[in-house]
Symmetry: C2
Subunit: 193 residues, 2 copies
């Protein structure tokens, strides 16, 4: 997605070989117009997939997921990063391992918002090791819902998230695919859409 | 706001005298169309305030703040609930006390995204004791930015958040004002907008 790649080139900051910071328009300060364009692009790509729900994870997945859901005319659900799971409500839960922080945390969605009749589009801002997306897939599977596709704003293609998800028979569509961050320079692969 | 009040009546669940759950359209599953209508309403109310940034706090403030920012044609910033503050970046930080959880947590915004030339509109999904909004005001003040107003989706008017914020000379505009949750019934005050 040309507009997104342009913004990454202009405003993205390479902190080291593994970390790209886009906090001026995606992960902390957010550009609503760009997010809407991103949402519309995902909605175009997945228009014929019979999507009934868009699912993401708090917090920086919310903006692209929200506009995608709006363009597809379906609700958006954001999984909570639960610290302690209160048992007063039926929750779908999954464990997500963070390679960066080297900790496992729980994510959850209320069971009542996903059912076997749902066809889910998962949206997230970043794909690195694929652990967050894998956790979201597990939540959907627990509900018997079908994951129809995964839309990623920025894919770190030099990490193995896509391989992991494709090995689970998932279709992954990324709007910007980063080949490397060597020497402080962002190199792109051809994006999916 | 009629449409919002209608949805609260239809889908809001009173858990006890103090807790209203709106997780089917605001705080967990999100209705993008309603959020856009909410954002447009806030933008109407604050159209002439010279707003340069919309500020909220993750996670459920993001949706209404995003659409408000889009309608005002300005960026949206969401404060992070920081667990441990890394000092590798200059952060504005404030403490927020939660009466529900009885803990104090830190919230933060990168200093580079707010400056003395900013006029900020704070948006949040709920107003109860006003502690989160107070924390956001402090972040803005640390940057020398002026808080031009506070937009709240649902105000629990039986708690003292509004009094606290008005005592700080803040203008508070709520789209739904709840007078009480007695006996499992939601009673509304006249809303602001």
């Amino acid at each position: 997605m040309e507009e997104l790649v342009k913004r990454i080139k202009e405003e993205g900051r390479v902190l080291d070989e593994g970390v790209l910071k886009v906090d001026s328009f995606v992960t902390h300060q957010v550009d609503p117009e760009l997010m809407q364009a991103i949402g519309r692009r995902f909605a175009q790509v997945f228009a014929d997939y019979g999507i009934t729900k868009v699912v993401t994870i708090e917090a920086s997945g919310i903006a692209p997921a929200l506009y995608t859901a709006q363009a597809l005319k379906v609700p958006m659900i954001f999984a909570r990063k639960a610290k302690s799971l209160t048992m007063n409500e039926e929750l779908l839960t999954a464990s997500v391992y963070s390679f960066t922080k080297q900790i496992t945390s729980q994510i959850s969605i209320s069971r009542k918002f996903l059912s076997a009749s749902d066809r889910v589009l998962i949206i997230d801002d970043f794909l690195a090791n694929g652990q967050a997306a894998k956790g979201l897939i597990e939540l959907c599977q627990q509900a018997g819902a079908q994951v129809a596709g995964i839309g990623i704003v920025i894919e770190k293609a030099f990490q193995d998230g896509r391989q992991l998800l494709e090995a689970m028979d998932m279709q992954v569509v990324s709007l910007a695919r980063i080949e490397s961050l060597h020497d402080g320079i962002v190199t792109f692969l051809e994006e999916d859409a």
